[in-house]
């Protein structure tokens, strides 16, 4: 897979890349004992889309003042983000070999930007990423810079009041260089997101808050791309309500909320590899002892 240069790869290439990143995330979850696999798998297509299709970032110059910013506000999907950043060239893939070990930078949530290239915000406590992203977007306007800010939120995360505080300020300030995607997988930690707090109608909520809203299949890269392009010139902040499936890509994880916390067994990693078109020879679990932080 040599898509590091982001030379506008095709959707077919990006789908294959998303499968590879899904597999690596599943494998790493097994080896490192890192949970939230379902939450990772539901947003990987969005991450791949933003990092290979939309954002202007240069891994060789991760602090370029003109770079686009990406914040994973649902920080518990960091295991997917780390794989994306490695594949995109922010750090060597082999650094992830020590994922979850004592002293590693790679754990359940993104660390402070000072500690890892490519990270813009240390999220993990929900409801923080959007306000910080809004501040970055406003900073572009105040300084006359042209960069854009992209934030991925969880639907469960929309429980947090700070999300809606931010939504109102972004609208009143007409922050056009801010785009969010809500990974609407219909689950949160312990139940259906619409049962825990009345979330629906989610798109209407964002619309009524003054945002330019699109609803898409969050696993359909072409559809996401069409919506992003259709609203590129809109002067409002933009929200993509991405209908997704928790655990997407691995049949026995899909829409099963046990995978919010469950760690896959060795056999499950091989089954996932098969479903994701990964040759079993490259699964490579031999000689590796899974870590348990239980």
């Amino acid at each position: 897979m040599a898509l590091n240069q982001a030379s506008s790869p095709s959707f077919t290439e990006l789908q294959a890349l998303a499968r590879l990143i899904r597999f690596r995330t599943v494998r790493t979850s097994h080896l490192s004992g890192t949970p939230h696999l379902g939450s990772c798998l539901s947003c990987i297509d969005l991450l791949v889309y933003f990092y290979w299709r939309v954002m202007h970032v240069n891994p060789a110059s991760p602090k370029d003042p003109l770079r686009d910013r990406f914040i994973l506000s649902k920080g518990h999907a960091a295991p997917a983000l780390f794989q994306v950043l490695a594949e995109r060239g922010f750090f060597p893939l082999r650094e992830l070999d020590h994922y979850g070990e004592d002293g590693s930078i790679f754990g359940e949530h993104p660390p402070c930007p000072a500690h890892l290239a490519g990270i813009e915000a240390a999220t993990g406590s929900l409801g923080h990423g959007l306000p910080m992203g809004l501040g970055m977007a406003l900073a572009a306007r105040i300084q006359g810079l042209n960069y854009k800010v992209y934030v991925v939120l969880g639907d469960g995360e929309c429980n947090e009041g700070s999300v809606w505080e931010s939504a109102m300020l972004a609208a009143s300030q007409k922050v056009a260089n801010l785009t969010i995607a809500v990974d609407y997988n219909k689950w949160q930690a312990t139940g259906r997101s619409n049962d825990v707090l009345a979330l629906a109608p989610l798109a209407d909520k964002w619309r009524s808050f003054g945002w330019c809203v699109s609803e898409v299949d969050g696993h359909d890269l072409k559809q996401i791309d069409e919506e992003i392009n259709a609203h590129a010139c809109d002067e409002r902040p933009k929200a993509i309500i991405a209908h997704t499936i928790k655990g997407r890509g691995v049949s026995f994880m899909e829409d099963d909320n046990n995978w919010h916390y469950r760690i896959p067994t060795r056999e499950e990693v091989y089954r996932a590899a098969e479903e994701l078109d990964i040759a079993s020879a490259s699964v490579d679990l031999e000689g590796r002892m899974p870590i348990s932080h239980g």
């Binding site: 003042p65 910013r69 402070c112 930007p113 000072a114 813009e120 915000a121 240390a122 406590s125 409801g127 923080h128 959007l130 306000p131 910080m132 992203g133 809004l134 501040g135 970055m136 977007a137 406003l138 900073a139 572009a140 306007r141 105040i142 300084q143 009041g161 700070s162 505080e165 931010s166 109102m168 300020l169 009143s172 300030q173």
Partner: protein, 308 residues
């Protein structure tokens, strides 16, 4: 103090285009001059402090130097997690300003008091805690905090505070000001309540007690040089702060003495471990908690005459 703050921010914003003031829908007309002079450098973030603090952090990480301003409880405990994570953990160069701190708004009731901010913030890494005692020291500290590029918290009063010392005598962060020398005891006072300590020293002088007075504005970093000097020169020491006696400046001094194996006669004056049950003026509230001049003078006599 808040007028001096508005004036100083307006000057800073003029000289440094990175400075942006974020207000939590407060200061009606206070920032009119800034808004006319530098419209892009002022944002009213509404009554939404958690978001405001996160926005400030994002700005600080993107080349700006945001100053967040609202009434102290709402720019501290209301959005504590945003301060801890977004500002302090990220080391984003944000200046957090709490106006009407301590008992300034005694008449508004305990919802508007701030008597635990030092204690909470002392335990948060990367965050400077500053408490100017008057308008000139506020101006100096605002500039020092900006120059430090460090996350900083500045707690200020409201209006009408008397100037206690000329602006050129205000020491840098981590240092303190010897305002008055004395032999019988030393009073170290933090922030605006220092005016009560100075008045107490005058009352003590009337009865033949010669009290030294030290003005302190740095709660983190603590003024360790002054601690060394004061503990070397005095057997009787008072600390005064408009803050709970738990976890504040006074306890910081006691920890210094303890860790150096020093024994001195000390009282740490501050507010009691309770919410004030009635309203009143700031003077009334200071008297209620025993941090007014009369009660400071009484405490001074206790520490001087107490048998070690």
């Amino acid at each position: 103090m808040r007028n001096a703050f508005a004036d100083e921010v307006t000057r800073l914003a003029h000289d440094d285009k990175r400075v942006v003031l974020l207000s939590g829908d407060i200061g009606n007309r206070l920032f009119d001059k800034l808004r006319v002079q530098s419209p892009s450098q002022f944002i009213n973030c509404g009554v939404a402090e958690a978001n405001m603090m996160g926005v400030a952090s994002g700005m600080g990480l993107s080349g700006l130097r945001p100053i967040v301003y609202t009434i102290t409880p709402f720019t501290t405990t209301r959005c504590l997690e945003q301060i801890r994570i977004d500002v302090a953990y990220h080391e984003s160069p944000v200046i957090i300003v709490g106006t009407g701190s301590g008992l300034s708004y005694a008449s508004l009731g305990p919802t508007h008091h701030s008597l635990e901010d030092f204690a909470i913030f002392r335990a948060i890494p990367n965050l400077q805690i500053l408490a100017p005692w008057d308008a000139p020291s506020l101006r100096v500290l605002l500039r020092s905090a900006l120059a430090s590029e460090s996350p900083s918290y500045i707690r200020i009063g409201k209006k009408g505070e008397k100037d206690l010392a000329p602006i050129e005598t205000v020491p840098s962060i981590g240092e303190s000001l010897w305002l008055k020398n004395g032999d019988d005891l030393c009073i170290m006072a933090v922030g605006t309540v220092a005016s009560e300590a100075i008045a107490a020293a005058a009352m003590l002088a009337d009865v033949g007690i010669n009290a030294a007075a030290v003005l302190v504005h740095s709660v983190k970093p603590l003024p360790l040089n002054i601690f060394e000097e004061v503990s070397a020169r005095f057997r009787a020491i008072l600390t005064v702060e408009e803050h709970s006696r738990i976890g504040g400046f006074g306890e910081g001094f006691l920890a210094f003495l303890g860790s150096h194996g020093l024994q001195r006669r000390v009282e740490t004056l501050g507010t009691n471990d309770k919410f004030m049950p009635t309203i009143g003026s700031q003077d009334f509230a200071r008297s209620y908690f025993g941090i007014d001049a009369i009660n400071i003078a009484k405490a001074a006599k206790r520490v001087i005459y107490k048998t070690p």
